[in-house]
Structures are given as C-alpha cells and as structure tokens.
C-alpha cells in the first residue's frame, strides 16, 4: 500500500508542478502559431506572479489579482507586438528585453512598495486561492484504486490545476476547429496568403498575442497566489523557458505539448521525491545531479528524440506588405 500511495503522491505533484508549464505552453502556441516567437513567456510569467500577488494583497481578492495579472501580461504582449509586429523589430531581442525588464522591475517595485527587495507580503485568508476538495473525496478515499485516483490524485488541487488541463482541449478546439484558429495558423505559415484573402495580418497577430497574455497570466498567478502565498525574486525559475521547450518538443500542438509538460513536471516531481533517498547499487544521488534531471532531459529530448520539429513557416519573420 505504501508503494501505491507513493505513486499517487508522485502523480499528484506531477499534475501540480506541470500546471504553470501547461498554461505557458498553451500561451506560446497561440503566439508562435501566429508567427511571432515568444521567448518572453518567462518574463510574462514573472510579471503575472508579481501583479497577482500585489493585486490580491491590496484588493483582498485573488481573482482581482488574476485579472490585473492578465491586464499586465496582455500589455506586455502588446508591447512585444508593437516592437516586432508593427515595427518589424527582431522578435527574440524584443523578448529578451521584456525578460530582463521584468526581472528588474518586479524586484525594484517590491523594494519600493514593501521595503523588501524582491518580496511581497504574505497573503492570508481570502487573499489567496485555496485547495479544492472534490465532493465526496473524504468518503471515497477508502475504496481501493478509485479512492486513490479520486481522492489522492484528482482531489485537493488549486483551481489553476483544473483550469490548466481544461485549457488544453479548449486551445485545441479553438486552433483547429474554428475559423479564428484557421486564420491564426495561416498567418503563421504564409501571411501573404492571409493578406490576399482580405484579412489584416497585423490584427490577427495582435489578437493571438492578446490570448497569449491572458493564458500566461494564469501561470504566474498560480505561482504567487496559489502554491505560494507571496511573490519572491525570480520565482518563475526558468519555467517559461521549460514551457517553450515543451511546446517545441510538442511540435506546436496542444496535445503533444501537454504530454511534454507532464513529462517535465514528472521529472521535477521525481527529483523532489528522490532527494535524500538511498537507491540500490548507486546509493544516494547528489542533490545537484537530481535537480539537474529536468534540464538534462530537456537538452536530450530537444537534441535527439524529437525528430525534426517543424516550426510554423513564417515564424520570426515580420510581415512586410509593400516592398
């Protein structure tokens, strides 16, 4: 039984740890499918975490914090669009600028407002999202298998965990089953074809970026108002880049990107679980090595196992109408 509950808790943490990755990967899919590189997922996630924490603290409601985080992230996406869509700037440079800006901005603002460099006050009570216990979780917990799946794995997560996995089929549906999705994909493959079909290429890219901003806000809010009770310096800790890798690994497709996110989440959950554990033959593995597993995996997967990841054809290229 202990083995089973170990597995259950591993899966449980995989779901939780993967959550921000899933939101970020879905956000990335919208931007990149429309032909705009989004290297700034990391910065936007950090911004969302900061704004959500501050918003919840002052307004006393985490939902309002989330709303503000969305506004902040959409603004950053628009900034990225203004630089790289309207003014045809280099998309990677624009993203790097955003990432650097946000690291400094969040630290500085936290210091100015709360007197602590890079820390926001701890959220208490209603200022924070709480874990949701699914109905009858307690009652069903003793039933074998079903009890473990329902009560130990599925129940007891923050709202964001459920929303993240719900977002995947929605993103899939929007991208592949609606005319909006068709246009987003077309504009990332061949913007000239979209232009000659009488659709405004620039407007399409801005719309996709706006959705990107909304989605990434969830990831940040999850970090600072759900799993943690405050914002701290660089708390996104590379998750934005990891999500980007997952999205590429998933070939810009929601379903496969989800699998990649879960894989990264799982290795992270595993490394936490393995810390300090004596393994047969090898003995205790140094913590540093264990912590490096997700990143080593990323490199290995991206370098070797993905095969040729075919990016949207027009990605990274600003659209020039007249030449």
């Amino acid at each position: 039984m202990e083995f089973l509950s170990d597995i259950a808790s591993l899966i449980n943490s995989t779901l939780r740890i993967s959550t921000p990755l899933v939101f970020a990967a879905m956000a990335g899919i919208f931007a990149e499918r429309s032909g705009v590189i989004d290297f700034s997922l990391e910065g936007k996630m950090l911004m969302a975490a900061f704004v959500a924490a501050v918003g919840s603290y002052y307004l006393g409601n985490p939902w309002l914090g989330l709303l503000l985080a969305m506004l902040a992230c959409v603004s950053l996406s628009m900034l990225h669009g203004f630089a790289s869509v309207t003014h045809r700037g280099d998309q990677v440079v624009s993203c790097v600028a955003i990432n650097i800006l946000i690291i400094g901005l969040t630290t500085a603002l936290a210091a100015a407002w709360f007197g602590q460099a890079g820390l926001t006050p701890t959220l208490t009570g209603d200022q924070r999202f709480l874990e949701i216990n699914l109905p009858f979780a307690q009652a069903l917990s003793d039933i074998p298998i079903i009890g473990i799946i329902y009560s130990d794995i599925l129940s007891g997560h923050y709202i964001f965990v459920y929303l993240a996995y719900l977002s995947v089929p929605i993103v899939y549906w929007v991208v592949f089953k609606t005319s909006f999705g068709l246009r987003v994909r077309a504009v990332g493959e061949n913007p000239s074809a979209v232009d000659t079909a009488g659709i405004n290429v620039f407007a399409m890219r801005y719309k996709a970026l706006a959705i990107n901003g909304v989605l990434i806000a969830f990831a940040g809010a999850h970090l600072s108002t759900a799993v943690n009770a405050n914002f701290f310096r660089e708390m996104s800790a590379g998750r934005g880049y990891l999500a980007l890798a997952a999205m590429i690994f998933g070939k810009w497709h929601p379903k496969t990107a989800l699998i990649a996110c879960l894989l990264f989440g799982f290795t992270d959950a595993l490394q936490i679980r393995l810390q300090g554990v004596e393994l047969p033959v090898v003995g205790e593995i140094p913590v540093q090595l264990i912590q490096a597993i997700p990143y080593i995996l990323t490199v290995v997967l991206l370098a070797g196992f993905v095969g040729k990841a075919i990016a949207p054809n027009a990605i990274g290229q600003p659209y020039i109408k007249e030449r």
Binding site: T178, S179, L182, A186, E189, T196, A197, G198, N313
Partner: protein, 507 residues
Amino acid sequence: MVSPILELTNINKSFGHVHANKDINLTINKGTIHGIIGENGAGKSTLMSIVFGLYQANSGEIKINGKETKLRSPKDSIVNGIGMVHQHFMLVENFTVLENIILGFEGETVFGAKLEKAKADLKKLCETYNFNIDLDATISDLSVGFRQRVEILKSLYRGAEILILDEPTGVLTPQEVDELFKILRSLKEEGKTIVLITHKLIEIMDLTSQVSVMRQGEMVGHTKTEETNKEKLAEMMVGRSVLLRVDKSEAKKGEVVFKVNDLSVKDDLDVIRVKNINLEIRSGEILGIAGVTGNGQTELLEALSGIRKVESGSIELFNKKISDKQNYLNPKMLKEKGLAHVPEDRQRMGLISDFKAYENLIFGYHDQEPFSKSSILKHKEIHEHSYKVMKEYDVRPNSPNLITSNFSGGNQQKIILSRELNENPKVLLVGQPTRGVDIGAIEFIHQRLIDMRDKGAAILLASVELDEVLSLSDRIIVMFDGKIVGEKDNKNVTDRELGLLMAGVTE
C-alpha cells in the same frame, strides 16, 4: 456589345524614389482575355496589385462596371469581383485545398454546416471547369500545376468576375501550360474577364484579344492582338528592336573536356536526386539541360561545381578524374583548374546582396593578383577593375560602390557573369542565367554565352526556360526524376517533343 468592366485612370504609384506606375490608363472589356506585357520591373505587377487592393495608388481613379470604387484592401477587391493568381502562390502549404479556399471566407465561427456547404459548392465548381482537384489533399502534395488550379478555384469561389493572372506559366511544363490555357478559355466562355500579365510574347499572341504594353512604369500602348505581331510588341516593350532568336554560327566542337560517369547525388534530406548520370561536353559547344524545376538539375550543378558531395560515380576534367565519393576538389580548386560556375540562385549562392558591387565582382578571385597581395586587398586595382568590367558588361548604374541588392535582377546577373567569365574559364556551368532578367539583359547574356562558346569554352546550361535551352544549346538533354530521359540534337527537335520528355513521357 463590349462594355468596360475595369477602367483605370491616371494611376500613379511610387515606392520611395522609384516611380513604379506613371499616369497609367487602362480599359478592360468584359468577357475578354486582356494581356499586359512588359519587361521585369516595368510595373505590371505593381499595377495589378493596386487593382487587387494590396497596394494603394498615390493618385488616380478606378472604375468597376462604370462605378468609381475605392480599393483599400484585398477584401474590397474581392467583394467587387476581382480575383488574382499571384506569381508566387498565396497558399498555406500544410493546409488542405479546402482550408486554403475558405480562409477569410469561412462564414461561421465554428466549423460546421457552412463548411459542408462550401465543400458541395466547390465540388460543383470543379465539375463545371473540369478541375479534378481533391479538396482534402494537402497543398504540399500537389504539383505546381494543381496548386495553380487551386488558386483559380479559390478566386472563383470568392466570386471573381475579373481574374488577374501574374506570370502564370513561369513554373509550368508545356503540357501544364496547355491545360491552363484551356481553363482560361473556358472561363472566358463562361463570361469571366481575364487579365494576363506576362513577359512572354507567345502567350499574348496565343490567348489574348487585347494587349497593353508597359515600359519602365508607363503604359506605352494598347492594341488588338490580331493587329500586331511578336516583333512589334517586343519593340514596344524594350523601346528598340530586339533579336528574338540568338544569332549563332555552327558550333566548332573540339575535344571532350568535361565528363561525368555514372554520377549519383543526394540532396540535403539524403534523398537521391541525381541518378546514374552520364554526360560529356566538348570544348566549343553548349550542352543544354531542359527539365521542370526540381528534377535533379540543381543537385547536378552543385555536385559538378564542387559544392555538393558526390554519392557515387566520378567527374573528369581534361581526362583527369577530379571528383568521386572519396576524393573531391572544392570550388576554389576547380576554379584554379579553369571551371567557372554561375549558380542557379543568384540571391542565395551567386551574390551577397548586402555587399557592394565591387566586392561581389571579385569574390572567389579576391585572393589573387591583382586584387590582393599578401592577403591585403588592393582597393585601387579592385575599383579600376570594377569600373572596367561593369562598363564592358553594361551593368547599370556603373557604380561599384552601390549595394548589390539595389541593382535590378538583370544587372545583378551581369555582375556574376562578369566575375565568372573574366578569367576565361575552359568549362562553364550555368544555371538559370536569365531567371527574373528583362529582355534587354537576356539578349546580352545570351550573346556573352555564345561568345564564350566560340572562344572554345565547354558550357553546360541548365534552364527551366525551354526557349532559352532551345535557342542557345547545340545539344539538349532532358532531365526527369534525376535521370536523363532523352538527348536531342538542337537541329531536329521541337518544343513539343521536349515538353513530353520533361513530363517524363518516353515513348
């Protein structure tokens, strides 16, 4: 009763300092096929892009069916019944035919009933015009000819009454051209109006009833096709009389200087693209390679010029083996042995477009005297040389310090040619020498190649322009699917015969 469907009055359009369209007037009658002819850069495509709403004119008036209309975007034009098939197809390659056609005209937010209706409507359209297109096929799986049909179908589905085709035959085999013309004629029968932009005189004579000629941004004349002929049109286009056939004497063939034995070559994706090719070229002759793009000509030329690895077989220069799978000479060594190469893709391989003309004029030879000494470039000599050859090759403007991308296509090609021919190579490999080059420059380039031949060079010429291969070559081989499917003497071959070979039909 003829009634104008499209009238343009005093259209002007400038890009920066370039006045692409000057006071253009044009009337197109309903139910006709109207040709617009002119050299590259004459402003034909710009004019039609204005009609299609892609560009906005700086001044001027557009009337459709006698009513003044503002065309601010392609949407306005499509709504007003104008469709355009662009030179480079406006298709999303990894979408299906259906997805490409409904793009922008989905009619519903979530795909469902309207999609089914669109399918049914399209099937009917396909039957009417005998299109034979599978709506669920992915564009990347379709041949160029079919992609073009998808473009036409797309315009028709969107309600086009006026269909503009921009250089539609550039990428087609002669058979595909015939098919296209059949389609265009049947569209005309149905009462559609067709505007054909081309620089090929033969197409104008074949298909159109009216023709308008453009030169350097201006409309230089309108005429009924039956009242003119090729020579007259060419003169209007260029502004002086041109030779349509290259003037050349009988080839004085010498020794075999270049020989290819059982050569196979792979492309970047490890697919064999050249399959067991044998050929030999004698000094003083031009061997032409005809074929539709993508049948291995590119890989063959790259392997022969030392850019691409040989998979099997060997290459001989002056009876000495220079390359096989194990040993090969790089382009620099080949140059030293007297082999020069004018690459197919001048933007990608022939030139560095962001560099100045004089730099491109000496590339590959820059480490030789007189251009450099002890690894130091000698600018004075380079500039003197540049002025001299640019004058000799009539590169306009004659300014070696101008950035190369600011020259027109024809002048860029002359820059490459002057660089490669300057050393009097014994063997010359030429790919697509006149792609995107205007008539005046084509004439010049052709004459230079003939001069090289008469000086005793062995020339291998690969071109997708059948006319070019026919008028320059002494012998012609046809490549299809990586193999040589036929060899003909230039004296007794018709373009029909070659066309069949190019399509892979061997009797």
